[in-house]
C-alpha cells in the first residue's frame, strides 16, 4: 500500500483516497474495533466515522508521518470515547475483556512443508495464548505493525511488546518440539 500516494490524493481532494484506505485497512480496523467494543453494529459505525474523519481532515493528512498507525490509533480512540460515553468505562486497554478471535495460518501444510498434525498443534497453541499475548502477536503478524507501533497503539512499553512476542514464539516452538520428535518435523517435499 502506497500511503504517500494516498496522502497526495487527499491533498488533491480526490475521494479515491478513502476507497484505497478502506480496501486496504477497513476489515483490519473493523476487527480491532470489534475487539474493543464487542458489538458489530457499533464497530461498523465507528469505522465509518474514522474514514469520514480522515476525509474531513484531508488537508492535514499530508503532514501525518505514519498514516497507517494514525488510522489504528484513531480507531482505538473512537472506541474508547464510545465506551466512555455509554459508561462502559475502560479508559485503558483491558486485554482480558477483548474478544478473542481464532487464528490460523492460511497456507496449506504442503506449502509449509510440515505435517497437518503440526499445523493443527501450532494453531491450537496460538489460540490458547493469553489475551494480551495473542493481541500483540496478531497485530504484528496479521496487521503487520512494527513493535514500536504496537506499543504506541496499546499504550504499553516496547519491552512489553517484545516479551509478549517472545512468549508466543517460545510457546509455539516448545509445543511443537515436545509433541513431535525432530525427524517428523519436516514433511517430504513433493
Amino acid at each position: 500500500m502506497d500511503f504517500r500516494a494516498v496522502q497526495e490524493y487527499l491533498l488533491n481532494n480526490d475521494p479515491q483516497a478513502i476507497r484505497l484506505l478502506y480496501d486496504d485497512l477497513g476489515n483490519r480496523l473493523f476487527r480491532l474495533a470489534y475487539a474493543i467494543v464487542r458489538s458489530k453494529e457499533v464497530a461498523e459505525e465507528i469505522i465509518g466515522d474514522v474514514f469520514l474523519k480522515v476525509w474531513q481532515k484531508r488537508s492535514e493528512m499530508a503532514s501525518v508521518e505514519n498514516l497507517r498507525l494514525y488510522l489504528y490509533v484513531t480507531t482505538r480512540n473512537c472506541c474508547f470515547s464510545y465506551l466512555r460515553k455509554t459508561n462502559s468505562q475502560p479508559a485503558a486497554f483491558s486485554f482480558e475483556a477483548l474478544y478473542q478471535p481464532y487464528y490460523h495460518f492460511d497456507k496449506s501444510p504442503e506449502e509449509l512443508m510440515i505435517t497437518r498434525e503440526i499445523l493443527q498443534t501450532i494453531n491450537e497453541t496460538i489460540n490458547n495464548l493469553p489475551a494480551k499475548c495473542k493481541l500483540v502477536f496478531k497485530l504484528a503478524k496479521e496487521d503487520g505493525l512494527k513493535h514500536k507501533e504496537i506499543a504506541e497503539l496499546l499504550d504499553i512499553s516496547i519491552k512489553t511488546v517484545e516479551s509478549q512476542m517472545a512468549i508466543a514464539l517460545k510457546r509455539i516452538y516448545a509445543t511443537v518440539t515436545i509433541q513431535f520428535p525432530e525427524n517428523r518435523l519436516i514433511a517430504q517435499k513433493k
Binding site: A5, Y102, H104, D106, K141, E162
Partner: protein, 351 residues
Amino acid sequence: MSSNRLWVLMAKKDNGEASSAELEELEELLRAEKIHPAVMETLLRSPLHSLPELKLPDAHWDKIATDIEIETRPRPSFTARLFSLSRKWQIAAITLVLIGGALLFLLQHPSVTEERPEQIVTRAADTRYMQLPDGTTVKMNGKSRLSYTSEGFGKTNREVVLEGEAFFEVVKNESVPFIIHTTSVDVKVKGTSFNLKAYSDQPTVEAALVSGLIELSTSQDPDRKILLKPNEKIIIRKDSAAGIASGTVSHIQKIQPLEYTISELKTHANLLMDTAWMCNRLAFDNEKLGEIATRLENWFNVAIHFRDETLKEKRFSGILEKETLDQTLNFLQLSNHFDYEIHDDQLFIGK
C-alpha cells in the same frame, strides 16, 4: 529451555526490525541452544488470519461514500464555483461507481479475485512518478492509466497496459521481457528508457527512445517487428495499426499498409521535445493547433472548442513552462493570429 533473549530477537527478525548486530547475536544463540529454526522460520513467513473472518458488510462502504459526498458538496453561497466543483464531483462519483461495480463482479467470481490488476490513474494536469515491483520506474503524464497484475510481476511476467503517456526506465532482465500493451501497438523492451504516448483520443501512437532498444508490433500485424534505436522516434497511425478499417461491414478484410514514420529525436535548448512534459514543460515543434489543443486540454484541465475548423491546421512551435492559459494563448497568437474566449473551464477558439 531457551533464553527469552533468543525469542525476542527471533520476533524482531520476523518483523524485519532486527539490526545486523542483533541478527549475529541471534545466530550465535541458536547455535549455543542447538535450536534448528527452519520450522519456525517457515511458519513465520506465512501470514496469520482470524477465523472465522470478521468482515465489514458490503453495504458498509455505501454509507461512507454518501457521507463523503455530503461532506464534499460545495456550499451554495459560492455560486461561481458551484458548476466546476459539482462537475468534478460527478466525475469522481462515476469513478467510485465503476470501482464498486468491478469489486462486486470480483466478489461473485472468487477465482478472478487473485488476479485483480493494480491500476494507477492520473487526472488531467497531473503527473505521477512511481516504481513497479521489478524496480522499473515510470513517470506518468496527465489523463493516463497504467495497469498490471501484481501476481508474478517481475518473476514470470512484466506486462503492463498503458492508456495515455508515460516515460519508462525499464530495469534490465533478459529472461523476462518488459511488454507494454496499448490498444493498437505492443512494445517489447529489454532494459531501456523511452517515452510512449498512446492516448485513446489521439490518432497516433508515438514512442521516443532515449537509450537501449525496443521492439514494436501492431495488433494488425503482430509478426512484423519494428526495431527502434536510441534517439529515434516512431509515429504510428492507429487506424492502420488496428487492422480492419472502422465502419467496414463486408467480411473482406481491408488490409491497409501500416503507416508509420521514424525520425530523429529533436532537441531544443538541450531539451528533448518528447520528454519535456517530465520537467513540467509543454513542448511542441511545428505541430497543428488541433493536436496542440488536446495537450493544452490535459495540461490546463480545460475543454477546447474550435469555432473555425481551419484553425486546427495552423502550425505552432514553442516550449512552455510556468505560463498560465492566458499567457500561453497570447504567446501562440504572436505567430499566428486567432481569437479566444474563456468561460469557466471552456475555451473557445475562433478567427
